[in-house]
């Protein structure tokens, strides 16, 4: 099976078969990352442009490594430093990059839907590396990959996603991915961080962390955006931690073999206790490793790889 799409914009419109294809393909690429010579010629002569309108180290580096291990040429285009400050529109920036014959544009943007606009207007394949509060599809794919590695099957798996669901693209992509794959998803957070009608996404909502954690197989912690404290979403970091920090005591409410995930970077002691982040239950670093393999699979499949 091959992928019949030019772009990866989100998980919402992917089929179960497509998700599975990404995961299966990533599996063969994971092996490349542990070789002595970590390179295959799959994308030789292709150009990948990382177009990042938000600061990001982890995702950008992961895409860069993925492209390089596929032998593509990679350009990192950090936008805050260049055209945007001169008033150029997203579309003009992207058209300029495409005029340089880029084959892939990996876009990180603070506004939801930005990759959708580019995908519609450009010939190049567009990969969404996170757009506002919308989606972060490669994050969800690498989370699924990590889960499949550790837990084998998605059916019947009970997960809790904890934190600012309303503003989180990671939460959204994971909700779409996990519910499609048959997992039972809970979202946990204060009502100020749960979007309206969230349960219509096929999840169950909890305000109390203890209730949400009971019996779950996987806990996915979201990074707390510290700048949102005050009148906006929560009164103080202190109270947030008291209510929503994943501590060793709270871990006992989950299934004994429960896994802890986090898209990073973590705020130690805010949403996750250091003992938990560093415990055996934590697969946070596996997520990072798998991220490269998954992004290799994404670039490869979008290029029409068979």
């Amino acid at each position: 099976m091959s992928l019949k799409r030019k772009d990866l914009l989100g998980i919402q419109d992917l089929s179960v078969e497509e998700i599975t294809l990404f995961l299966d393909t990533a599996e063969s690429f994971k092996e490349v990352s542990v070789r002595d010579i970590k390179k295959v010629p799959a994308l030789r002569g292709k150009t990948v442009v990382n177009l990042f309108f938000e600061p990001s180290t982890r995702t950008r580096t992961s895409f860069e490594l993925a492209a390089k291990r596929l032998s593509a040429d990679v350009i990192n285009f950090a936008v805050s430093a260049s055209s945007v400050s001169k008033g150029e529109t997203l579309l003009d920036t992207a058209r300029n990059i495409e005029a340089m014959q880029a084959d892939f544009i990996v876009l990180r943007h603070p506004m939801a839907g930005a990759p959708n606009i580019l995908a519609k207007l450009l010939r190049a394949s567009v990969v969404n590396a996170g757009d506002g509060g919308h989606e972060h599809p490669t994050q969800a794919l690498l989370d699924l990959y990590t889960l499949r590695e550790k837990k084998r099957a998605f059916k019947g798996l009970r997960l809790a996603i904890v934190g600012d669901i309303a503003h989180s693209r990671v939460a959204r992509s994971n909700i779409y991915a996990l519910t499609k794959m048959g997992a039972e998803v809970r979202v946990v957070g204060p009502p100020t961080m749960l979007p309206l009608e969230v349960e219509r996404l096929g999840v169950k909502a909890f305000y109390h962390l203890d209730d949400g954690l009971r019996g779950v197989d996987v806990i996915m912690m979201l990074r707390l955006q510290l700048e949102r404290q005050g009148i906006a979403l929560f009164p103080s970091i202190r109270e947030y931690s008291k209510l929503y920090c994943l501590t060793p005591e709270r871990m006992k409410l989950a299934a004994p073999d429960a896994l802890v995930m986090h898209p990073g970077p973590i705020n130690r002691g805010v949403e996750i206790a250091p003992e938990v982040a560093d415990s055996l239950s934590s697969v946070i670093l596996d997520q990072v490793t798998n991220g490269v393999a998954v992004r290799m699979a994404v670039l490869y499949l979008l290029s029409g790889g068979k």
């Binding site: 919402q12 529109t89 997203l90 579309l91 943007h109 506004m111 939801a112 839907g113 930005a114 959708n116 606009i117 757009d131 506002g132 509060g133 919308h134 989606e135 309303a166 503003h167 693209r169 959204r172 979007p195 309206l196 009608e197 969230v198 219509r200 996404l201």
Partner: protein, 437 residues
């Protein structure tokens, strides 16, 4: 009266004698049936069966057509002065008459804001030069529409403003709104509010509900409109001022206005075609042509707006015609401006309500003519003998497809592109002169 008279070139008022024959005349509350309309010196001089054409009379054959009072739009943005790249008064007026609108009221959010006599006079001069639709300026409620000090309503009225509004920038301070409603009573000016609590809507680009949740877009809750409608109704009750609520979009607004009217509060309200035909679903795929303020809401809200039109809670169909340049809408959803054009689609879209059995033809015509005219006290919207000869002739059976590239407006920003509509404006007369086509 003189200030409410047509702002067209004087020589146009002395128009030719015209006889519109064999049409079905629909002048709500007055006549709905076959009749001829005679126009002399820019006025309607007779309406009735079998009117005779004397020598030198221009005859318009309206066989199979409907002959209606020219439409009146209480809510347009013509962008001039300041944003002529989006629209000018001339292009806006051309769009108006192409859509059957012979009178339009233009919002003051220009640059500079229409908060003083000279801007009002400038707008009227441009409108006169264009010589198409009558343009009635709406003055600002507060200086610079900054929500603080009241603008000089007396001067604005004298210069030709027919209402006051800070449209686009809601009057957030309740005391300022109270004073505006009170002070406007001297001049019997309607105070028009765009009801939006900007604290609740901050950062939002679409309706807050399931679709926004799915798309990860910031929402504008229905409550941001509802709380301001509630506040404004309370202030209208307190002051006895004349309140007009722009573009209602929520079930809550309709419910509150209905209750307020039943208690005799002096309020009128308008709704736009997009708010009774489209829901939040239109935003999917990050469609910036479905981005307007207030936003497209839920199915329940759409049904409530229709019910409000049906039972008369909502008096007026207005367009909120808001042209933007193509490049401004070709952007990230969050950075694209709010607003769509509406003048050239309103009639066809309003007729959908007839198709759906929500309104009768006469009710649709009333919501586009006599009712808006009454809300702002304009001597317009009727074919009564002695009225200005502003007439719109439509072909009720013409099928057409909305093609933005053919618009007279500079704005092409519409979510209705490609819609197949029935019922089209074929001819528009202002002061007895054919201004469209």
């Amino acid at each position: 009266m003189s200030r409410r008279s047509p702002h067209v070139r004087p020589e146009l008022v002395e128009g030719p004698t015209v006889l519109i024959r064999h049409g079905r005349v629909i002048d709500p509350g007055r006549i709905n049936g076959p009749a001829d309309v005679l126009i002399e010196h820019g006025k309607i001089t007779a309406v009735g069966a079998g009117l005779k054409a004397s020598d030198g009379v221009a005859v318009i054959d309206a066989d199979g057509k409907w002959v209606l009072p020219g439409f009146v739009d209480l809510h347009v943005h013509f962008r001039e002065p300041g944003f002529e790249y989006k629209e000018t008064i001339a292009t806006g007026a051309a769009a108006a008459v192409a859509g059957g609108f012979t009178s339009v009221c233009c919002m003051p959010n220009t640059q500079p804001v229409n908060d003083n006599q000279s801007v009002t006079e400038f707008i009227l001069e441009k409108a006169t030069a264009a010589g198409l639709a009558h343009v009635f300026p709406i003055g600002a409620i507060t200086k610079g529409s900054e929500g603080k000090a009241l603008a000089e309503f007396g001067d604005l009225k004298q210069a030709g403003c027919v209402a006051v509004s800070d449209d686009g920038k809601p009057v957030m301070n309740a005391m300022v709104m109270r004073r505006a409603l009170e002070y406007a009573r001297i001049f019997d000016l309607p105070v028009v509010d765009h009801c939006e609590c900007t604290h609740l809507s901050e950062g939002g680009g679409m309706h807050e509900g399931q679709v926004a949740t799915e798309m990860g877009l910031h929402g504008i809750p229905s409550a941001s409109e509802d709380v301001m409608v509630a506040r404004n109704l309370a202030l209208a009750e307190l002051t006895g001022g004349r309140l007009h609520l722009a573009h209602l979009s929520t079930a809550g607004s309709v419910r509150m206005v209905r209750e307020a009217k039943a208690r005799g509060i002096n309020v009128t309200a308008e709704a736009c075609p997009h708010h009774f035909l489209l829901t939040e679903e239109a935003v999917r795929e990050f469609n910036t042509h479905a981005k307007m303020n207030p936003p497209l809401r839920s199915r329940t809200d759409v049904e409530a707006i229709k019910a409000g039109l049906k039972d008369g809670t909502i008096d007026v169909i207005a367009t909120d015609h808001a042209p933007h340049a193509a490049f401004e809408k070709e952007r990230e959803f969050d950075s694209a401006p709010f607003g769509i054009v509406g003048l050239e689609t309103a009639w066809g879209l309003a007729l959908v309500l007839v198709e759906e059995g929500v309104l009768t033809v006469e009710q649709v015509v009333a919501a586009l003519t006599v009712q808006p005219a009454r809300a702002f006290g304009l001597a317009k919207g009727t074919l009564a003998v002695g009225a200005d000869a502003d007439v719109t002739i439509v072909d009720p059976d013409a099928h057409w497809v909305v093609a933005p590239e053919q618009f007279k407006s500079k704005g092409r920003n519409t979510p209705f592109a490609g819609w197949k509509l029935k019922g089209r404006v074929v001819s528009t007369l202002v002061g007895g002169r054919v201004v469209y086509p």
